[in-house]
């Protein structure tokens, strides 16, 4: 009896959590049950609003003042935590149960040094003296692979990088060797290469401390890398639970199946496997369907799914699923509706014409000239951020060019310069044969309407005081794409192209979801039938199931209107899926350009190789090489000399990398690598991802 109780560190039974709002009670979590054993890692995966963070907060007792646990039990090492007061929970939190949040900058107190924050945990929970606590903290910082722990302790949070902050938070949570560690999207705000190192750390720590781990994320790739078991949540309910391999290889719930089918991964491109987005949207919590909560969007539902709420059925002892038709899942072929599947792009073979967009030695620098007072009194110097430094790329018509890179690589600055929101500092931009190396207000009107942009943030991309009809009609009026009398008809047609119903015409953006707003933004951009649309991370802030719909919309547009796209993203999977040619950027410079398939197979630029090995792939059977970069991206204010990547490059040749800029090496038609390493050697490198 004792051994079983010991083994199950956390048992959540039929947990129900609701929030009081002005519109009544919102049942955010309904009947969620799972168990985590000592040393096991359970990943809770789901989209935004599915209740995974609420569940974590309820377990820790951190629900906000209008939230309460309506029912169920949370058994932590045998004790029921529901109903306990803060005073009773205080000895447990931090010592036996710890949590790591998403944003380390807000988890750490910005006005206290790291030392003070870490030692406080030990002083309060274990009664150690400051000196003893200090020793323990240094040990722990070494375990989380923090460079120079002694120095680190004396710093303030804002003086260390994001990855280091998160390590400090992880160290803080592990100081008392807790039985349960909850991590709520700890790597979401970090760059891919930094994320990879933090995930490695979490895996290593799991082996060393046998804490139970509850890992929450919306990213299936990350969960596949870190966890043993997965629980899939949707709209407040747990739909499926089981081992990672079982769930990925043989998903039983239609939602899980659809979710796996709509994630672009580094292995697939649009010509191989089309994305199948999930139609519809997540139901509002105050208008839940009577039967199965996923039924309105499910392709396999029957009458009984609409009427009866399915119970959680346990299969084979370690798997459970909440679906009335789970037994039939094996035989089912995913229905692919015609308008969702993407037909392969058949490109008209054009004769060798001029490229649509040609960038030569483009440079965009942001200079910060301090006022004469600043210079006199504070000794401030002129600072220059070389956001885009000598980029030369050609974009052919009817292609999709992807620009990928981490934060600070200059991709957004590149987009803004091409489009004209920022004036280039040097260099030339040629579009449709016309020199447009100036700010948009100075460009000729005819050129302006051929070059449009889709922005990153769906919440600020549309004017909230205008209706969808006005938003889409305006560019039509300005560019005279159609005669006045036909404008309304054209607006409806554009909505149809982006898969939105006519009923949206009168709505305002405030009532629309992120995916819908982004689609309206796309309709607005293509209204004037531009030749080139620049897309700046248009799907980064959208849920996975919605991303697919927007990506497919972009593909449809490219196919129907023969538009070219310049697609910017930090997500390699999306770029791989969508783009014909990909440009990899690092700190303002181009590392590698090439067609999609060529880029993702050797020879690689060392940075591309590192990116590929860092990206979490949502498939536990895939073998991924493990190449990790030290440190984080250097500041753009003071970039390294020579090859910008040499400070972190695992394949650095020697002094030549520090002194001279790398030459362009032509690998094959259209594939260029900028590196000092000779091509022959690069060709022999093993592929990073194999086993798909």
């Amino acid at each position: 009896m004792d051994r079983i109780a010991e083994e199950r560190v956390l048992v959540v039974e039929s947990l129900r959590v609701s929030y009081e709002t002005r519109r009544g009670d919102v049942k955010a979590v309904r009947d969620v049950s799972f168990k985590i054993k000592r040393g096991e890692a359970l990943g809770l995966v789901g989209e935004s609003g599915c209740g995974k963070s609420t569940t974590a907060m309820a377990i820790m007792g951190y629900l906000s003042s209008n939230g309460r646990v309506d029912g169920g039990r949370v058994l932590f090492q045998g004790e029921n935590l529901v109903g306990k007061t803060d005073k009773e929970l205080q000895p447990i939190r931090g010592s036996r149960m710890a949590m790591v949040y998403q944003d380390p900058m807000t988890t750490l107190n910005p006005s206290l040094r790291i030392e003070r924050q870490l030692t406080e945990v030990l002083v309060v929970h274990e009664g150690l003296t400051k000196r003893e606590a200090h020793e323990r903290c240094i040990e722990m910082l070494e375990k989380v692979q923090m460079p120079d722990p002694g120095q680190m302790m004396k710093r303030y949070p804002h003086e260390i990088s994001g990855g280091q902050q998160q390590r400090a938070v992880i160290a803080m949570s592990l100081l008392c060797n807790p039985a349960l560690l909850i991590m709520d999207e700890p790597t979401t705000g970090l760059d891919v290469t930094v994320e990879a190192t933090v995930l490695d750390l979490v895996r290593a720590l799991r082996n060393e401390f046998d804490s139970a781990l509850l890992y929450i994320s919306h990213n299936l790739g990350v969960i596949a890398r870190v966890c043993d078991r997965i629980g899939v949540m949707y709209c407040g309910e747990l739909l499926e639970e089981g081992r990672v391999e079982d769930i990925f290889l043989n998903p039983l719930h239609p939602y899980t199946k659809s979710l796996l089918g709509c994630i672009p991964s580094v292995g697939t491109s649009k010509t191989v496997v089309p994305l199948r987005p999930i139609p519809g949207r997540v139901p509002a919590l105050n208008a839940l369907p009577a039967g199965c909560v996923f039924e309105p969007r499910c392709g396999y539902s029957e009458e009984r799914c609409r009427e009866v709420h399915p119970p959680l059925v346990t299969i084979e002892g370690d798997r459970s699923v909440r679906c009335a038709r789970w037994e039939d899942m094996g035989e089912m072929v995913t229905p692919v509706s015609d308008d969702l599947a993407v037909s392969l792009t058949v490109r008209d073979k054009r004769e060798d014409t001029e490229p649509l967009l040609s960038l030569s030695h483009l440079k965009t620098f942001y200079t910060d000239k301090p006022s004469w007072i600043g210079r006199l009194v504070a000794g401030k110097k002129e600072q220059c951020v070389k956001a885009v430094d000598d980029v030369s790329v050609d974009l052919e018509s009817q292609t999709i060019l992807g620009v990928v890179g981490e934060s600070g690589c200059g991709k957004t600055s590149l987009a803004k310069t091409i489009v004209g929101l920022i004036a280039p500092t040097e260099g030339r931009i040629e579009f449709l044969g016309v020199d447009v190396s100036k700010i948009v207000e100075k460009r000729p009107g005819g050129i302006r309407k051929e070059l449009q942009m889709v922005f990153q943030n769906p919440d600020s991309t549309l004017n909230p005081t205008q209706s969808v009809r006005q938003i889409i009609a305006r560019p039509l009026q300005i560019s005279h794409t159609v005669v006045r009398s036909q404008i309304q008809e054209e607006v409806c047609r554009l909505l149809d192209v982006v898969n939105l119903d006519e009923s949206y015409l009168g709505s305002r953006p405030t009532h629309m979801s992120g995916g819908e707003k982004q689609r309206v933004a796309i309709a607005r951009a293509i209204a004037s039938r531009p030749e080139l649309v620049v897309c700046d991370e248009p799907v980064s802030s959208l849920d996975v199931s919605v991303q697919g719909a927007v990506l497919n919309t972009l593909l449809d547009i490219q196919r129907v209107y023969k538009t070219s796209l310049l697609f910017i993203s930090h997500d390699l999977g999306v770029v791989r899926y969508l783009c014909d040619v990909i440009v990899v950027m690092y700190l303002g410079k181009v590392c590698e350009i090439g067609p999609g398939e060529a880029l993702f197979t050797p020879p690689y630029h060392p940075y591309t190789e590192a990116l590929l090995s860092a990206v979490p792939v949502p498939d536990p059977t895939v073998k991924q090489a493990r190449i990790r970069l030290e440190g984080s991206v250097p500041s753009a204010l003071n970039p390294p000399t020579g090859c910008r990547f040499h400070t972190r490059c695992p394949r650095k040749v020697g002094e030549i990398c520090e002194m001279t800029e790398p030459p362009a090496q032509l690998v094959s038609e259209g594939h260029v690598i900028y590196c000092h390493i000779p091509l022959g050697y690069l060709r022999q490198v093993k592929p990073v991802i194999h086993g798909e």
């Binding site: 009107g445 302006r448 942009m453 600020s460 004017n463 005081t465 305006r474």
Partner: protein
Amino acid sequence: MTDRQDMNWICNQWRKLRTSRVAFLLESNLALIGLSIVILWVVVAILAPLLAPYAPNNITGESNGAPSMTHPMGTDHLGRDVFSRLLYGSRSILLLAPFSVLCAVMMGITLGLTAGFFGGIVDEVMMRILDAVMAFPVLLLYMIIIAAVGASAINVVIAITIGGTPGITRIVRSLALDVRSREFVQAARLRGESPLYIMFREILPNCLGPLIVDTCLRVGYATFAIGTLGFLGLGLPPPDPDWGRMVAEGRVWILTAPWTVLFPSLAISSLVVGLNLFADGLSEASRRI
């Protein structure tokens, strides 16, 4: 219509009001109280000829007569009925205050949008000039203007407009700076929209929220300012019933005939309090949205 149909219609109208876009006004108690006071005065101003027992400028009683059955609020030093003068006085103040604030808002919007949108030297020069105007104590500013151009209704409006423009310009400018960085404004630039279009059709509608609340507050200040100007003898010329002037004229007799000062003062305060409550309630409700 039958009684039942009447009731249904009323219920429907009420329900429509509650779910309409102005419904948030009804949620705030403060706003409701403030609004009621203001509406009360508006009704009084409109119905003044019907409600007032005497014409405001006629001498109908003894000098400084105490409140009585014939003169519910007494008479002033010339024998005019205070009550009637009060009712008629509401007209000029309720006309001038919102009108002058409206002028100030229109000027402020134009200047603020220009400064916020163009930035650079245009912004710097405009803001420094307005800073200079704002540096003057408001009352002194009013006095200088009226002394220069003379006392009349239009000049009161001009004075209040000049006094209120810098503050409004600042608010609009900071709102415009914030909205200008949003992506839909960038999209408008990409379309090649003219600066005028971007300022007035893209940026301005998104600044209205805080601006409306500020405007309501300013109507309160303007009411008070008009009262003060009247008190200083710089408001509407006599014999028009001007609450501020009534207070000024009655001040000399305050010990023997306090009603000549008390009632006009209460009138000014109640209107200002009503407007302020309404503005507070509006800002509370708009924050909750």
